[in-house]
């Protein structure tokens, strides 16, 4: 079993539990925090499980660019 994948999986589960706990609290920075946690999980899956870290920089920039635009638009609309 690949050690890096195991560590990624454990971190992803931790982030998921934290996101669930954060949502139950009424925090002023709740939405940005939930989005940051989602972005971290997204990057964990894309870069480690999908092995995007081995891919050409073009694909890595594209996926980060998508996340920036997506989260940026949500924050602009929501806050």
């Amino acid at each position: 079993m690949n050690k890096q994948n195991v560590i990624t999986w454990i971190l992803l589960l931790l982030l998921t539990v934290i996101a669930g706990l954060v949502s139950s609290e009424y925090l002023s920075y709740g939405i940005p925090l939930i989005l940051v946690l989602a972005v971290l999980k997204f990057i964990g899956v894309a870069f480690n499980f999908m092995e995007l870290k081995k891919a050409n920089v073009f694909w890595r920039i594209l996926i980060i660019g998508f996340l920036v635009v997506f989260c940026g638009l949500i924050l602009i609309i929501k806050i």
Partner: protein, 193 residues
């Protein structure tokens, strides 16, 4: 199994194949655009969206996230083991991948059943129109992914497998795409309103 050495650093050969990555980006943009439209609608009717969001079961959503992430983890391990030529182990991990995918569908069905019993159908309000549209479309992807993985399982199980490593990687990329889409849906639908 036929394993060809691929130079992933070449822009034309991302892991899983360029065609699948084009599909992945199209899917992400489509789901992303609808989610942004949902957030925009939420700003027009903030109270309805907040009250509707509270009608969702965050625990179900969290457990389903765990199921999909665990399934994705086993998928990554499957690809890793196949690259090491451990066919038997890979088959076992692939079965676990599919098992957690099925668990996701079972819990989603329970969630849908409780929502429909409570009268929270697609026409209930704008929030639930988005909820049903986005989650059902995602469920369809999971079902298609499970069909693909079943085909891969029987493909690699053969004595002389005709399934190539690139086929497995492409199938894995599709399955992980279901994770990625869910990782966008879960916070927006279940948490932020």
């Amino acid at each position: 199994m036929e394993i060809t050495k691929i130079d992933y650093k070449n822009v034309l050969y991302p892991p899983g194949g360029i065609l699948l990555w084009i599909i992945i980006f199209l899917e992400l943009i489509t789901f992303g655009a609808v989610l942004i439209a949902m957030v925009f609608s939420g700003n027009q009717e903030p109270e309805i969206f907040h009250e509707s969001r509270l009608l969702l079961n965050v625990t179900y959503g969290t457990i389903n996230t765990v199921f999909l992430l665990t399934s994705g983890f086993f998928m990554a391990i499957t690809v890793h083991e196949l690259k090491l030529n451990n066919k038997q182990r890979a088959q076992g991990y692939l079965l676990l991948t599919m098992f957690f995918g099925v668990l996701f569908l079972v819990l989603k069905s329970v969630e849908y059943y409780t929502k429909l019993n409570a009268g929270l159908d697609m026409g209930y309000n704008t929030f639930f129109t988005f909820y049903w549209m986005l989650t059902l479309f995602h469920v369809i992807h999971v079902i298609v992914g499970l069909v693909i993985l079943t085909s891969v399982y029987f493909g690699i199980k053969k004595e002389n497998p005709t399934t190539k490593m690139e086929d497995v990687e492409a199938s894995a990329a599709f399955w992980h795409m279901c994770d990625l889409i869910w990782l966008l849906l879960f916070p927006v639908i279940y948490l932020i309103f």
